[in-house]
């Protein structure tokens, strides 16, 4: 399992993904994003401290050389034993879990991208289509991951008790950890969508705000803003402004149409996002009760040992008690026996 893949430089502190974009999900039609307002480079992560205090010593080489010299000494008694065990085939379960893990991390990358896009506040550089597309993809991903994990769980259950106890816990833990990862991801996703909704709301209010200004100010200014798409709401409502500018009426009308569709699309987007949030909610609930199954947040590793010790102690005291009761019973038996004998003697001596 050494084939772990480390993705490039990436920092989650700001949810910023700086590495190469994962373009396989990205429609080529939408132009590659140009990051004009490049976010400031993330501050050097606190890992710096961790990295330069290498308080341990690697002795792998020493070990290997020891092996080699030992091997040389043993001199080919069993050198060419086929190394069949080294390349053991992985079980289906592991492969499945690995695949899900990989998918999860890919989805995370997409989510990071979406976060960047959604957090952008700019009015003009709003990549609505991209965001929508990404949202859709991620939604699909989460859904399919959810299904896959459920499948994995089924698999574990089906394989059930034919495995060792430890293997069983191991696989269960993997399932649970995948679930919790997915849960945290959908949580992130949800919050991103909320941010997006908030942004959309803000944009709308801003637009209204700006488009009102020229009307109340001077109609002349409105001319300059005529081309601005922002004005259309307003111009529609207070018709007299556009009537005054008869030269532009036709153009304006055209714009109104355009604008209508634009607003329509916006409303759709909103609805879309809302429905997504609702869907996510249901996924959440599903996950919540699964994750709840294990409560180990505050446990320490020595807890089990102490439990075992406690049980042993309890067992010991129980045994002691049993022993006592047995001995007292013995005493009782002796007494009864004694009485019987006395009676026997009485019978024999006096009645016989």
């Amino acid at each position: 399992m050494n084939t772990r893949r480390r993705h490039g430089s990436r920092s989650t502190e700001q949810g910023v993904y700086l590495g190469p974009s994962q373009t396989q999900v990205y429609p080529p039609a939408s132009s590659p994003p140009v990051y004009q307002p490049q976010p400031p480079p993330p501050p050097p992560p606190p890992l710096a401290i961790i990295d330069d205090t290498m308080s341990c010593r690697d002795r792998t080489q020493e070990f290997l050389s020891a092996c080699k010299s030992l091997q040389g000494r043993q001199n080919g008694v069993q050198i060419n034993k086929p190394t069949l065990t080294a390349i053991k085939q992985r079980s289906d379960f592991t492969l499945m879990a690995k695949r899900i893990g990989k998918d999860l991390s890919n989805t995370f990358a997409k989510l990071e991208k979406l976060t960047i896009l959604a957090k952008r506040k700019s009015l003009f550089d709003d990549k609505a289509i991209e965001i929508e597309e990404l949202t859709y993809i991620i939604k699909q991903d989460i859904n399919s991951l959810n299904k896959q994990i459920a499948q994995l769980q089924e698999f574990v259950k089906a394989r059930g008790n034919q495995n060792g106890r430890h293997l069983q816990t191991h696989s269960n833990t993997i399932v649970v950890s995948l679930q919790s990862k997915l849960a945290s991801m959908s949580n992130d996703f949800k919050s991103v969508l909320e941010v997006r909704t908030e942004n959309l709301k803000q944009q709308r209010s801003r637009r209204e705000h700006f488009s009102q200004l020229p009307v109340s100010g001077s109609p002349l200014h409105a001319n300059n803003f005529g081309n601005s798409v922002l004005m259309q709401d307003e111009s529609r409502r207070s018709g007299d402004v556009s009537i005054n500018m008869d030269s532009k009426v036709s153009q304006q009308l055209q714009l109104i149409d355009e604008q209508d569709s634009y607003i329509q699309s916006r409303a759709d987007t909103m609805q879309n996002i809302e429905s997504t949030i609702v869907e996510l909610g249901s996924i959440f609930q599903q996950l919540a009760h699964m994750v709840k199954e294990q409560e180990e947040t505050v446990q320490r590793i020595d807890a089990n040992v102490e439990d075992a010790q406690l049980n042993v102690e309890a067992a010991h005291s129980e045994i002691l008690k049993y022993f006592q009761s047995v001995t007292s019973n013995r005493w009782l038996m002796v007494k009864i026996f004694f009485i019987l004998i006395i009676f026997f003697i009485v019978f024999v001596v006096f009645l016989a």
Binding site: M1, N2, C67, G101, S105, L167, H170, V298, R300
Partner: protein
């Protein structure tokens, strides 16, 4: 600011190990790798105060098992071993290799493994044809247990080996002593490696601490000389402050101050350690499960053991572990009140929601409330966690209070403080000892020992007889006294260990505040004692050495600088600058009283940092037991 506390450093080292010894990526997008953690008792003690199971899970650990437990094979998962390089551990690892338990093996040894043992594993690996499966072999140098940000102990498993008793028993052989010293030095060396600093060593002459210092100096020198393999390369490249400012490591011997470990205390953490079973940051309390008996009557009342972890994440604990107990009781009450208020707030919100829901008109209001509700819901886990902590501290503090009341510990504390500061006593010692209501025999013995240790001249034979009789009548085991008498006779040369600083506590009258009726802490009759800052001997010595003050007590302390080429025998320090960082290490056992005293001392000195370490951590009754063992011989 110090670069990182020792706790952070050890945690980071552990995490790196769990990440297959490659630097951490703080990135939840990384592909998870699942692995199994195998440790022995030593490893368990090191990990358990630092990483909870949850954190291990986050690191991809699916199973954590003891090395010597019965383990099933999991053929397709890598295993990380974190064990001491002992004979039986190595055997067990070889056995694992032979039975092909795991896919690959990452062997991490808590302290350095010897070449011959490495070869043992190598031959077993060859025999099992598993050389390729052993992916990494590492020496971790983590053989110490960090309990606080600035406190560590050496070990827990075989602490009898390096206890005060072991060091001071009269019939000790040279080889035994050698083993003890080697064990201590090895752990200390690990600590310094993890800290990443080569300190300047200071120690008093003519006791166990000096032996440790000499050995440690030698070990550090050997390591530094071999520049290629040196473990201290990083500090020259500058890990913050250490590059130009080296810490001082003060090695002290327990014999320097025997009174403090016997002292009754008044701060929260030390009290918990004194009267409850407080072990590796975990309190174990027995609570009987109420009066209800099962109908059959056959099963006895089950003793219920409750464990509470007092962790660094516990804010209340962090804030109050050094506070005097009455203050803690009051704060618990306050916390409880604020928690109740918050809970009421949530409940109120719920009722409002119920009302508003029927009112069709106020949609905007509703949406506003929805936001409020969302925030309330998201704050619920936090609230639950808070409740858990409050419950924890309520239980612990109640248990402590119980002890204080039944044993009259407040009276003892006040009396002992007076003894140590040589102020006038309002009650004769004999009265205290013969008072049947106050304290256990152990408490009385502790009180008398403190009196005996701190008194300038020993009491006359006649008085002594009287005291002995009173103590025996009170049911005390007199053997600790025998040892202390020997020790005092022997330690005559220590002229003034008795100077314990100004008066310690003053009573603030009876705890007059009328607690509300629901309060769990009826402090009636318990004196509200307030601690006054005073320095214990350990703190005073540290102060002298850090500030380079001249003092007859510390002037002849030996001075070692492992970075100097030739060892010098002088006790004259080369550099005259005051130190900013210091590590105090007590050979022969330490306690929370001294730790707390040091923490309080550092609080008054901005920019300074002090780490406290000890070879073992004992409370007074454990110490008394060791003393009586010594006295029996």
């Amino acid at each position: 600011m110090m670069a990182a506390s020792i706790r952070e450093k050890q945690t980071a080292a552990l995490k790196r190990m769990l990440n297959f010894n490659s630097p951490l990526m703080k990135n939840n997008a990384a592909e998870p790798v699942w692995k199994v953690l195998i440790y022995d008792r030593f490893g368990q003690d090191i990990i358990s105060p630092l990483l909870a199971v949850k954190e291990l899970r986050d690191m991809g650990i699916t199973l954590h098992l003891l090395l010597h437990s019965d383990r099933d094979a999991i053929p397709d998962v890598p295993a990380i071993y974190f064990v001491m390089p002992t004979e039986e551990n190595i055997d067990r690892i070889c056995q694992d290799l032979r039975s092909q338990l795991y896919e690959s093996y990452y062997l991490n040894f808590i302290s350095a493994i010897s070449r011959s043992k490495l070869e043992d594993i190598a031959s077993a690996a060859l025999g099992a044809n598993a050389v390729t499966q052993i992916t990494k072999v590492f020496d971790q140098y983590l053989n110490f247990i960090t309990l606080e940000d600035d406190m560590f102990v050496l070990c827990n498993q075989n602490k009898e080996l390096i206890s005060y008793h072991a060091i001071n028993k009269p019939d000790i052989t040279d080889t035994d002593m050698e083993t003890i010293m080697d064990t201590i030095v090895d752990s200390l060396f690990c600590f310094l490696v993890t800290l990443g600093a080569v300190p300047i060593l200071r120690c008093p002459r003519g006791n166990a601490a000096e032996m440790v210092a000499v050995k440690l100096d030698k070990k550090l020198r050997e390591n530094l000389r071999d520049a290629r393999n040196s473990l201290f390369t990083s500090d020259t490249m500058g890990t913050g402050q250490f590059s130009f400012q080296r810490p001082v490591l003060v090695l002290l011997d327990r014999n320097l101050d025997l009174a403090t470990p016997l002292h009754h205390t008044w701060t929260y953490q030390a009290l918990v350690h004194d009267v409850l079973d407080f072990h590796l940051n975990r309190v174990t309390m027995e609570e009987s499960t109420g009066p209800e008996n099962s109908p059959a009557g056959a099963r006895p009342k089950k003793k219920n053991k409750k464990n509470y972890d007092l962790t660094a994440a516990d804010r209340f604990w962090q804030k109050h572990k050094g506070s005097p107990f009455p203050e803690v009781a009051e704060s618990v009450q306050q916390e409880l009140d604020t928690y109740r208020a918050q809970e009421d707030e949530v409940k109120r919100l719920k009722s409002i929601m119920g009302l508003e829901g029927e009112d069709e008109g106020a949609i905007s209001m509703l949406s506003d409330n929805t936001a409020k509700l969302t925030s309330a819901v998201s704050s619920l886990p936090e609230l639950l966690e808070k409740k858990r902590l409050i419950d924890l501290h309520t239980n612990v503090a109640t248990a402590v209070l119980e002890h204080i009341k039944t044993r009259k510990l407040d009276v003892y504390f006040e009396y002992e403080e007076k003894l140590m500061s040589k102020s006038t006593l309002d009650k004769s010692l004999l009265d205290m000892i013969s008072d049947p209501d106050a304290g256990t025999p152990e408490d009385k013995m502790r009180l008398f020992l403190i009196y005996y240790i701190t008194s300038q001249q020993p009491p006359s034979e006649v008085d002594m007889e009287q005291y002995r009789k009173a103590l025996a009548d009170a049911g005390c085991n007199l053997s600790p006294l025998n040892y202390i008498r020997q020790w005092k006779a022997f330690a005559k040369m220590a002229a003034a260990p008795a100077n314990y600083g100004g008066s310690g506590a003053k009573a603030m009258g009876l705890f007059s505040r009328v607690m509300n009726t629901g309060s769990q802490f009826v402090m009636e009759g318990v004196k509200n004692l307030v601690l006054k800052q005073h320095n214990l001997p350990v703190t005073r010595i540290l102060d002298n050495l850090m500030e380079m003050k001249s003092n007859p007590e510390t002037d002849d302390y030996r001075y070692f600088d492992p970075k100097m080429l030739r060892g010098s025998e002088s006790s004259v320090p080369r550099n005259k600058n005051p130190f900013q960082e210091a590590i105090i290490f007590v050979v022969g056992g330490g306690n929370y009283i001294e730790y707390q005293n040091l923490v309080d001392y550092v609080k008054g000195k901005p920019g300074k940092h002090v780490l406290y370490g000890c070879s073992e951590l004992f409370n007074a009754s454990q110490f008394l037991k060791q003393l009586s063992q010594l006295g029996q011989k």
